[in-house]
């Protein structure tokens, strides 16, 4: 379900790749990338919504459910405001069981 951001001034568009489901972001040159650093940042709500409309059309084939994500730029890095979105950028905060077990074996 898409949530409208509050009064954000920096927005990127995110979605999931239709093939492997991975988190992707819309770039300035109309590609979808896994790297949020390459995302096109919109600084107005109207601009973001216009871009979202274009992306939604694109979603018929390449991606699933594009939506707006509020971001801030921190130390030169693009960082989502909501925790949920941060986890989408960085992946699960839990190490996979396979790694946890092998690190125990090594210890």
């Amino acid at each position: 379900m898409m949530k409208k951001p509050r009064s954000a001034t920096q927005l990127v568009i995110s979605a999931n790749d239709a093939g492997d489901g991975r988190t992707v972001y819309r770039t300035a040159d109309s590609r979808w990338t896994r790297d949020i650093a390459e995302a096109r940042i919109e600084t107005s709500q109207a601009g973001a919504e216009a871009l979202l409309a274009i992306c939604t059309a694109d979603s018929a084939v390449r991606v699933v459910d594009p939506y707006l994500v509020e971001v801030v730029i921190q130390d030169g890095h693009v960082r989502p405001v909501r925790y949920r979105e941060l986890i989408r950028v960085e992946g699960p905060t839990v190490d996979p069981l396979t790694d946890l077990l092998s690190s125990r074996d090594a210890a």
Binding site: A18, D20, G21, R22, V64, I87, T98
Partner: protein
């Protein structure tokens, strides 16, 4: 175990072919996501935060070694080497590519498995007591009935588009290990005075945002009437269940809004009408017998009730002694035990198993448990029929695979849903909280001091982590972008089912582990003796002393 007949096999293979075609049409762009989504969901493919997730049905939690090996193969070949067992006795793979799904489904079909009806507004995987056919307290094995219900509900044309999803659970023992009172229909297998088999029927239980305990609508339904009666319940629900509001669409709301007496009259009237028009729904005794043969007890040996081999070994090995104390359950056959394999290693994500661990369990099941393993709704695995003499060898193999944790039913045997680390619906993380709690209480002495305690964590109000029925329940919420955790106390999923009460305002992620420890310490301080369990003490004391202890400083 049940084996597919020609019809089952053809049906599952046809579905694989059909969905393979749909996947290639989606990947080529011929189908949009809007068109494809209902199709993928019908085949267990969800889209989560980072990837597609495939949910595989494990009917009533029963697996052969061959099936478990196949799941291991899928984990290794198509996922990242592990899988997650859920509170509905299913298995979820978290990192699946859409293009691989047809191949995976074909692999599953080869071992008589599928992912059908693991999503959508239909009748979901029928769950059952994980000690079915083994437990000493069992009246009869519930799995033949669970299988009859599975066959009846698979692609049932009338019940494929219900107002909302529908879950059935069956227990064959008076000690309910299948949480039947928090299911849409809960069935307790029993015998009447004449020794005939039937069911107590419960309707309208559920968790989620409006937790409700089911109401009993029949104390003894003869076994031959099972399908007809369930059909009547489903028909009444299909007709009157709300379709205007997703949050009010489960049968529990219908029961609540209509009142159980009126609804019972509706169900009975529908049942009479159905019987008058169509007697075919009666399950013939021969059919019950035929299905029952698939679940016939294995060829147990006649053995002494006490194993000197095991008794001697446990004297020499304290780890084995602890394992025997917690992870063995009394078996109906002397000289055997049902053995719980904890997927709750200290500090590890609850319910997860690696491909290698699945292989180990499959090998042990084949060698020591008549080729059978089970999945419990508490997210553990079970070897249902192990000779007591073999327990030391099984324990040694489990320990070597990181599966020897002796904590079944203790505070670290935590149920936790995937939460915000994976789930698209989550508000907060569950797994890291479970890991920290597990570490906090992980010492064997501390756990033993606390005794039986069920701790359950959900990452959102959908309550997949069963927090409402945890003795201590934890619900993750989001407040102003931060994770908060609400504590509920006094829930229980067994025959004395109760819904936990929210004890007060939530705790931050930093505070939650200390808060749970405060609850536990309060219990230890106030219990009449170590024999008084947490839930008994809570029922005697009420929530006041716990609330005071938790919020004393704030007052």
């Amino acid at each position: 175990m049940y084996r597919y007949d020609e019809f089952d096999r053809a049906f599952v293979n046809e579905r694989v072919a059909e969905f393979s075609d749909q996947v290639s049409r989606r990947l080529s762009g011929e189908l949009s996501e809007d068109q494809f989504k209902p199709l993928r969901l019908m085949n267990g493919v969800y889209l989560q935060l980072h990837a597609y997730m495939l949910r595989i049905a494990i009917p009533y939690g029963t697996l052969s070694s061959r099936q478990l090996r196949k799941l291991s193969f899928i984990a290794r070949t198509y996922d990242r080497g592990w899988g997650h067992f859920t509170t509905r006795q299913n298995l979820q793979f978290n990192w699946i590519s859409l293009k691989d799904v047809p191949e995976i489904l074909q692999h599953l079909a080869d071992v008589e498995m599928h992912a059908i009806q693991t999503s959508g507004n239909c009748i979901r995987n029928v769950t059952a007591d994980h000690f079915a056919g083994a437990a000493a307290d069992e009246v009869a094995d519930p799995r033949p009935y669970a299988e009859i219900l599975r066959q009846w509900s698979s692609l049932h044309p009338e019940f494929t588009f219900l107002p909302r999803k529908f879950k059935l659970a069956v227990t064959g023992a008076p000690n309910d290990r299948a949480a039947i009172q928090v299911h849409d229909i809960g069935l307790e297998l029993k015998r009447d005075a004449a020794g005939a088999t039937g069911f107590a029927v419960w309707v309208g239980g559920g968790q989620g945002r409006t937790p409700m305990i089911a109401k009993k609508v029949r104390d003894f339904l003869p076994e031959s009437e099972l399908l007809a009666y369930c059909t009547a319940i489903l028909r009444v629900y299909n007709l009157y269940g709300r379709r205007d509001n997703k949050f009010k669409a489960r049968i529990k709301i219908l029961v609540h809004e209509t009142g159980i007496e009126e609804l019972k009259r509706d169900i009975e009237a529908e049942y009479e009408a159905l019987r008058a028009e169509n007697l075919e729904l009666a399950v013939p005794a021969e059919e019950v017998e035929r299905i029952g043969r698939y679940f016939a007890p294995p060829a147990f040996e006649t053995r002494p009730a006490v194993s000197t081999v095991l008794e001697r070994a446990r004297l020499l090995d304290p780890d084995l002694a602890a394992f025997v104390e917690r992870n063995l359950t009394a078996h109906k056959q002397p000289g055997y035990a049902a053995l719980t394999i904890s997927l709750k290693g200290i500090g590890l994500p609850p319910g997860d198993a690696t491909a290698e661990q699945m292989e180990v369990v499959a090998d042990l099941a084949e060698r020591y448990s008549f080729d059978e393993a089970r999945v419990s709704h508490e997210q553990n695995l079970v070897l249902p029929h192990v000779r007591l003499d073999d327990v030391p060898a099984v324990f040694a193999a489990l320990k070597a695979a990181g599966l020897g944790t002796a904590n079944a039913g203790l505070v670290t045997d935590i149920i936790a849903c995937p939460g915000l680390d994976f789930c698209a619906l989550a508000n907060a993380r569950s797994i890291p909280v479970a890991q920290r709690l597990s570490e906090r209480f992980g010492s064997p002495a501390r756990q033993r001091e606390i005794g039986d305690l069920k701790l359950k964590i959900s990452g959102c109000i959908n309550a997949c982590g069963h927090h409402h029925v945890g003795h201590i329940g934890i619900l993750g919420v989001e407040r102003k972008g931060e994770e908060f955790y609400q504590i509920t106390l006094g829930g229980s999923a067994d025959q004395s089912c109760s819904i936990g009460e929210i004890v007060g305002k939530g705790f931050s992620s930093d505070e939650i582990v200390d808060a749970v420890e405060t609850v536990v310490d309060t219990y230890i301080r106030l219990r009449t003796s170590p024999q008084e369990t947490f839930i008994e003490a809570f029922r005697r004391l009420g929530e006041a002393p716990f609330r005071e202890a938790l919020y004393a400083e704030a007052v």
